[in-house]
């Protein structure tokens, strides 16, 4: 597969796995819920630590 296409696919897969049944802003706030979705979708988790004021 041509690399740019693979990279795009990568982003899509990661995005779609976490977007499935996600809260409306696209991010899970519960680690347990995110793990459950990752398990069911067989996708890796993208866990972001972000300082919000």
């Amino acid at each position: 597969m041509h690399r740019p296409a693979l990279v795009l696919l990568t982003a899509t897969l990661l995005g779609s796995s976490l977007m499935a049944a996600a809260p409306k802003n696209g991010w899970y706030r519960s680690l347990g819920e995110a793990r459950r979705v990752a398990r069911e979708s067989k996708r890796p988790l993208f866990v972001v630590f972000r300082c919000e004021t």
Binding site: T10, L45, V48, R50, C51
Partner: protein, 342 residues
Amino acid sequence: MRVTRLAGIDLNRFTFDMDVTWNAFFTDDNLNVYSRYGGRDGGEPEERMSVASLLTTMDEVLAEHARPDDTRRFQPRRPGRQTPEDIPLLKANHRGCVRCHIAREYQLLQSFHDKTFSRRELFRFPLPETLGVTIRREHGHQVEQVEPKSAAAVAGVRPGDVITSVGDVPVHSDYDIRFGLDRSAEPALAGRPIAWTLRRLADDGEILTLKVALRPARGWWAYDIGWKISLRSAPFRTGMRGYSLAPSQRRDLGISVKTLGVKISSIYSDGFGRSVGLKKRDVVVGIPEPIGRVRLFDTFLGHLLQRHRPGDTVKLTVLRDGRRITVSGKFPKWFTDETSVP
């Protein structure tokens, strides 16, 4: 998954430089870590990151995740579990939201009061530049430049090499390199060579896998930490306040706008300032050689910590009463009587 509060988070699993405002992990559903992404240095907060390098990391993580369960390579972690609430000083003194830097500051204070603090604690997650390599920002773990005669150069690292492991850490990002270097800098491993695995494209088009051993000098892991907010809770008693002079103030004094020019506004207790003989109204212009201008007083303190350790004789070039003089004295012992974080 977005985490905005550290309460209840296992810091032995999600280990990162908690002075940053953004950091990411890629894991499987059991929270085994494939890769870390993020990190910053003394430059702009996002200078070490790019969309292209994030995509590279995602690409590699998906490839790793697609491997059979028993052959996936995860990053090592500290044994046991530690949440911020397991830090006694934090549990005793902190109420409300546990921000990342708050947890880090309590770790520093706790280690000092437990007598386990060492200078290395200030320099966690060392930059690959400390070993003589710069990383191509658009890739994330490909070597861009190698400094001549550096530990990396002596080991045979070349521009274009892709770093695929550091010690026992599989590498998919710049921050994975830093995590590997952080583990390599642990006191128990001091003096031992640091093993890197490299992927190199040979002249004939063949892809080579190479193992090299880096043998850096003692204290190789020190870098610019003046940007870190957690410095305020480091056991470094400065006993002084000051500020970096504005360009107009520098012109009045006849000093460059491009080099150090820090004015001491008060010496208020025992500590670094008194120990090295600084006085109120001194202007520090060198350590002792001129160094680049700093915008913040804390950046100056970071330079001192990067260069010196307790017991060292410190020399500073100072303007005092219109004359350029050198003051010197001992870098003081680590000390703080703080037990809480503001």
